[in-house]
């Protein structure tokens, strides 16, 4: 267990700046998720904490120890890779015990710790198999096992679940969360999947093109996005954005307005916006109604399946409460 702090971390590859200054103080045992679209620099940020990329500017501290110039092995971290990065020529047990063996630990201690981890991860029947004889989910567990056997101060995860199918992903997500709770190890977790981020994180860092647009608890970020990007990225289906001049109730300093699909309502009178139903998607518990508004934009309304489903081409009105309306200036900043 350890605290981790990033102080104005920057990264350039040659002349291209990839990370433009990220700051965060991570508490002991906290689960931090770094989320953002592909190419925004999530992996790069994580790899700088791991020591796999050099830090161009800024400082990384693990437990008050500046680690900028330390080798990965000196940082007391463990990392789980997207492709698992298991040692293909070693058995599951050897994979998990590799770090301890390198460190010169006695054989029975290694066996002990590997067994404990294997029990925790339900890997006992597979200890003598090689990675190629395992399923994706099992490999994923071995990678986790290799990380926990060493009892590191910090866990780093780089999209560990993205190679698994949807169902397994949900299951492993839960397991990772429980494991982290149980072990209480400070964790940094990278994903581009906002559901994963929302469910796992104590706090999340929403990254946009090398910047941390917002850092905070998932629900807080959902309720109160700091930028247009965050509002659009967190929440599914994404927030509806439209030009502020489209509605009569003016919010003087906002250029763009955003309203989440679940906050919009189809009404017959007192409409803030009028439009025409384009098509409906019935998902079972809920229905997504896509509505074309006067400037040809298509907005989405998410309503419960019990509500009457309007037929295509019907003219309708849209309404929402003023509290749920988010205004953004021309730079995408929240007003």
């Amino acid at each position: 267990m350890a605290t981790v702090s990033l102080k104005n971390i920057k990264k350039s590859f040659g002349k291209t700046d990839v990370i433009h200054g990220v700051d965060i103080d991570i508490q002991e045992g906290e689960f931090i998720v770094i989320v953002g679209p592909s190419g925004c620099g999530k992996s790069t940020l994580l790899r700088m904490v791991a020591g796999l990329e050099t830090i161009t500017a800024g400082e990384v501290h693990i437990d008050d120890r500046k680690v900028n110039d330390l080798e990965p092995m000196e940082r007391d971290i463990a990392m789980v890779f997207q492709n698992y990065a298991l040692y293909p020529h070693m058995t599951v047990a050897q994979n998990m015990g590799y770090g301890l063996k390198i460190a010169g630990r006695p054989k029975d201690e290694i066996a002990d710790r590997v067994d404990t981890a294997a029990k925790l991860l339900q890997l006992e029947p597979y200890l003598d198999r090689r990675p190629r004889e395992l399923s994706g989910g099992q490999r994923q567990r071995v990678a986790m096992g290799r990380a926990i056997v060493r009892k590191p101060a910090v866990f780093l995860f780089d999209e560990p679940l993205s190679n698994l199918d949807a169902k397994l992903r949900v299951q492993m997500r839960l397991e990772i969360k429980q494991l982290q709770r149980r072990l209480g190890v400070t964790s940094l977790y990278v994903t581009h999947d906002q559901v994963e981020a929302m469910t796992l994180a104590d706090r999340m860092i929403v990254m946009n093109a090398g910047r941390a647009d917002q850092i905070g608890a998932p629900l807080e970020i959902y309720a109160n996005p700091a930028t247009e990007f965050v509002a659009g990225f967190i929440g599914s289906p994404p927030t509806n954005f439209f030009s502020a001049d489209l509605v009569q109730t003016p919010q003087t300093d906002a250029k763009t307005l955003g309203v989440r699909p679940e906050h919009m309502e189809i009404v017959t009178e007192n409409a803030r916006l009028s439009g025409e139903v384009l098509y409906c998607e019935a998902l079972g518990a809920e229905t997504l109604v896509h509505v074309r508004v006067p400037n040809e934009q298509v907005l989405t309304v998410r309503q419960s399946a019990e509500k009457p489903q309007p037929s295509e081409g019907t003219p309708i009105g849209l309404n929402w409460s003023a509290n749920d309306q988010m205004g953004f200036d021309e730079n995408g900043k929240r007003r």
């Binding site: 796999l52 080798e71 463990a78 990392m79 890779f81 990065a85 298991l86 290799r146 060493r150």
Partner: protein, 293 residues
Amino acid sequence: MEKRVTFKGIWLPLLLVLPQIAITAVFFFYPAGQAIWQSLFIPDPFGLSMQYVGLGNFEFLFSDPFYRASFLTTAIFSILVTVVSMGIALYLAVLADRLIKGSGVYRTLLIWPYAVAPAVAGVLWLFMFNTRVGVVTWYLGLLGYDWNHVLNGEEAMGLVVVASAWGRISYNFLFFLAGLQAIPKSVIEAAAIDGAHFWTRFRTIVFPLLSPTTFFLLVVNIVYAFFETFGVIHTITSGGPQQSTTILVYKVYSDGFVGQDLGSSAAQSVVLLVIVGLLTIVQFKFIERRVHY
């Protein structure tokens, strides 16, 4: 799954493989058959008649101390060529693999020696080590070392080994580099995080993962050292001094064409044929069971 091309009739595929079969027949089956046939006879010195001796040529061969010495020479020579060329190639490949920039230049330069024919490479090295005018000989002389591979058998062996290994380094380097680059970077990174420094990583992760490449190269290089180094030996030492660099292939030539002992030469060819066969079997067995991680 592999996609297989299937033909309807038998004639088209037959026609397509015919040239290859013809070449193999003319340049391999026919001479090999002749060698086997001739190995059973002793021709008279004028080549006018042949006397059937059964396995007599082989019996004589294996009781000949010179032939047995040649086996030992070949073994030493092949092991040295293989170890030297693979060792240096692996070292260079590891260095090139660590390079991020300029590895293309490095690679291109290292491939050049492979384009040099063995005989030419032999002459090149011969010039450098020429006992009277060689550059290296001169420098060695300055250091107080009197190089003379024409008289000293060990020096002769050293020279042919170096000249033979030199051209092979390129070939081995390419395979090793490809092998190294096929190892996922994240596996190496995981090992680094697990606490393994460079040498430990090499010993416990990289080298084991490279073993299919290493084994393949081992067989290929032994075959090379056995059969394709004729040009180098012929240009540098002609098998001397005192047969100290007469490997089996060279002995076939010197006994047959120089010594005119055609029966023995044919028998030696047959022995070599068997050795190639064995090496090929080893290689095929390996390719079949090739380890896929």
